[in-house]
Chain length 521, copies 2
């Protein structure tokens, strides 16, 4: 693989190669850290020996035009430093990218793998269901390789009867009612690129990847409701407020190692809005999406939908694990590196109303005859998208997308839409979209309106710049015809026109009619 | 020299090497084209044999980080194609860049040479007079090498007594009263980079170079008023409306070759506002600035201040030469490649009110204790800058720069200014400047307000993004102290903070005071 950080120093082992064995047979790449404080301490001591390379500057300098855009050398080296159980995970994970994802994915970060479908052709939302191969991936560590037969979860904490449950148990319809539901998952980094372009922000240690509009996707998930599983465990004990999930992946933060862990409120689980899923669009979960079992939390930031689930722990208060407590925080615009704490950010759970134009693409130059077709998506984590509005002039005049040009309503999914926008004007135009949800919430106007230090939740009206060439206008039709006759193209617009724009005689005629450049008295 | 277009094809001579001799001894690199239509025709036939490389895409793709930013291969090849008299001009011109300009100039275009002083240290406007070495250069062709002793100008057209005048004649104070005056010259491409970043535009054959705020400078010019010279030639004939200037440089446009030629209205000349200058800040004109004699037209676009002057021709109507008629046109925003003509643009002469912040620089991250010092320039071609206003919040609250922090008033020059802006807020702020001139004209609000296809005259309020770190605030002071103790820097802000932002105990205390993340009922 071609590294995007060619100048990164080579990894050099510091001291003896550590031995952190896999926790269980049939669970490749899974080290249990949370149950063994001594092991965590030892790992931290090893990490402290290293001076890991800093992530490359990509916010104050132009993004590399490579694919992957960012390599994640630092994160790879964390894994190399942990010895044989983790050192191959960067390569293994990349192998699954090749096997399970479309070959033309936009690899935003190679490791931990972060990727979204390419913008051309609106692959994110051609249909209301996103193809598994095109579904965005935002992993936080390597991909564990788990045998379904060796697989089980532990359910513990503030429940009356803690249990171990195999996948076979969960699939046993005599024990658990099976459910299938259509759910959109969205990374809170969606459209981060716009925040980066406007103002750089936190170069988080787990690189705040420069996502565009494709860090969102919709699938039909099949599994069981966590509510039923909790009930099977005898229900909750007093004081239970949150449910914590642990993944088999290792997570690094500020020199410490953890298993990936997050939590959701008990209240969410009680609404049957936490699913333990083993199928994605009628197929077993891809490895890269959490095989054999993951959590799916509708309406919430994707980070709560823990993959490669190992353990469910019912607790009092939210998880103090770093992904929950120290990541995915939403700050007021004046908070930054000089004054950010964990507690002055608001933990992102339910996602706000949002939308994007997927075609055309920003900076497209379009020859049309008075109408330009747009496609896109609209989503709201706390309701459903009820109305989509399009503007061709940066947000003064709005056109409503007719309901029959929007996909069906779901409680927990986006609606994809298409619209033929009347476009008379030529030159650079600003198209934008906004969505109103079932609570009449809509989107902030500009990126600036909602910029935040961690560059999360770019929910402002999505704006693109389009160069309009309207061939229903006579002067334009004439120019296009002339270019065609000469075998020249008008595209790209920045390529010099090799022909004269008018004759001296034409110029003089206009010049006379205009009374010259200056008055005569 | 390191080319910035490494993939450009090599120049290959088509047919026989042409022989276009120099017009006069002692006038190196000067071919007279305008007096010999047959020679122009022959040159056009030669040019037609070539398929010159197109300029590199630099508007729809990130600008190269090289210096020179753009090389101008196409323009070099035009000169190579014309045979021995012009083929060495790219190298000769670059030699004068090295000899006459500061070594750290920002070389926007290597050939024809376009350059401005670097942004660091506000070299453009440290003082109201710009050092000759730092003065921007916007050439349209190669630099002719002219012996002062062989030098003369011809004055002809609608004057009663056409004359040849040597430099000695012009310097003869018994014939011509000598004048010295302080004049700002500005390229209409100043701050074009902002228009490019907002929306790409015309990739003009003579590359619309990506200037920033330094394509402006002020000098004290010494010479004679053209009005006196015209009088010496017996005054104007009936019908005279414009005065045309020819330079010794060769200019290429759409497959034709010309001498550089422009014009100004007779009315401007009559105000004593056209100077024939041989001194720049008390020194003979540098070669790169038009030695031995150039025109200086106060208040007008720099392009009218013709260098290496060969001839003055009084005419009826403006010059039909391409620089006057086909370049430097100002279009309404909906005009572009599909419908631009020469006559639907307005020829740029007098420059509008404009200003720029020179320090700090866009994207600077500044540690301060409640005040940030700004410096910059303010200019108006049709009057003088009377008031400069600074905003620290993108244009809601404006602070007036006190008059004693602005340089003196001139009729024809900028004012440089400095100001200590009160800054309380932290994080990304938008600083902007606007100027009001003596006619109470001020600047458009946004780049978008005045975007135009040729990307000229970026006169909108100049805006920069500044990351403010206010150490008079306790939380910030505490964080800076902590970083200092650990030997860490807060800069650049995008580099991950390697320390914990707060302890678990601090987090829990705030969490309790906030009543947790969610309500309990």
């Amino acid at each position: 693989m071609a590294p995007s950080e060619p100048n990164a120093p080579r990894f050099v082992q510091q001291g003896e190669v550590p031995e952190f064995a896999e926790e269980r047979p049939g669970w490749g790449g899974y080290i249990e850290w949370e149950r063994y404080p001594e092991k965590k301490k030892k790992a931290a001591e090893i990490l402290a020996k290293y001076d890991f390379p800093v992530p490359p500057e990509y916010q104050l300098a132009p993004l590399p035009e490579t694919n992957p855009m960012l390599e994640g050398v630092r994160w790879k080296y964390y894994h190399y430093a942990m010895g044989p159980t983790l050192k191959d995970l960067p390569d293994i994970s990349w192998k699954y990218v090749k096997e399970e994802k479309s070959p033309d994915m936009l690899h935003v970060l190679q490791f931990p793998y972060n990727g979204e479908p390419p913008r051309v052709g609106a692959r994110t939302c051609r249909t209301e269901i996103t193809d598994n191969k095109d579904f965005f991936v935002r992993n936080h560590g390597g991909i564990p390789e788990i045998d379904e037969d060796a697989y089980f979860i532990e359910l513990e904490g503030l429940v009356n009867n803690p249990q171990k449950l195999t996948l076979k148990d969960l699939k046993d319809e005599s024990k658990f009612k099976r459910m299938s539901t259509t759910v959109t998952l969205q990374c809170s980094g969606t459209r981060r690129l716009e925040q980066i372009r406007e103002y750089p922000g936190d170069g988080d240690e787990l690189i705040n990847a420069p996502w565009s509009e494709g860090a969102i996707g919709t699938a039909r998930w099949t599994g069981v409701s966590l509510k039923k599983v909790i009930k099977y465990c005898g229900g909750l004990k007093d004081g239970a407020t949150d449910v914590e999930f642990f993944g088999a992946d290792s997570y690094f933060k500020k020199g410490q190692i953890y298993n990936y862990a997050v939590s959701v409120p008990v209240r969410k689980m009680k609404l049957n809005e936490v699913i333990l899923a083993w199928e994605m669009n009628g197929k077993p979960l891809p490895k890269i999406h959490g095989y054999p079992l993951r959590v799916v939390v509708p309406g919430y930031i994707g980070a709560r939908s823990c993959k490669w689930l190992t353990r469910i722990n019912v607790i009092s208060g939210p998880s103090m694990a770093p992904v929950q407590m120290k990541e995915y925080l939403y700050y007021t615009p004046q908070i930054g590196k000089q004054n950010a704490t964990y507690s002055n950010g608001f933990s992102i759970q339910t996602m706000p109303v949002a939308s994007a134009i997927m075609t055309p693409i920003d900076h497209d130059q379009i020859i049309h005859d008075g109408k330009i077709k747009l496609t896109g998506w609209a989503y709201s984590g706390s309701g459903w998208p009820e109305r989509v509005e399009i503007s061709g002039d940066g947000g003064s005049i709005w056109y409503e997308v007719p309901f029959d040009q929007m996909s069906r309503k779901y409680y927990h999914a986006w609606r994809v839409w298409e619209y033929e926008l009347p476009v008379d004007a030529e030159g650079w135009l600003e198209f934008c979209v906004r969505t109103w949800d079932s609570s009449m919430n809509t989107q902030p106007t500009y990126v600036r309106s909602a910029w935040n230090w961690d560059l999360h939740v770019t929910s402002s009206c999505h704006r693109i710049k389009i160069y309009s060439i309207n061939k229903s206008r006579p002067a334009t039709a004439k120019r296009l015809k002339l270019l065609e006759e000469k075998g020249l193209s008008i595209l790209p617009i920045t390529r010099p026109l090799a022909i004269e724009l008018e004759t001296d005689e034409e110029w003089l005629e206009v010049w006379r009619k205009k009374q010259g450049r200056e008055p005569t008295e």
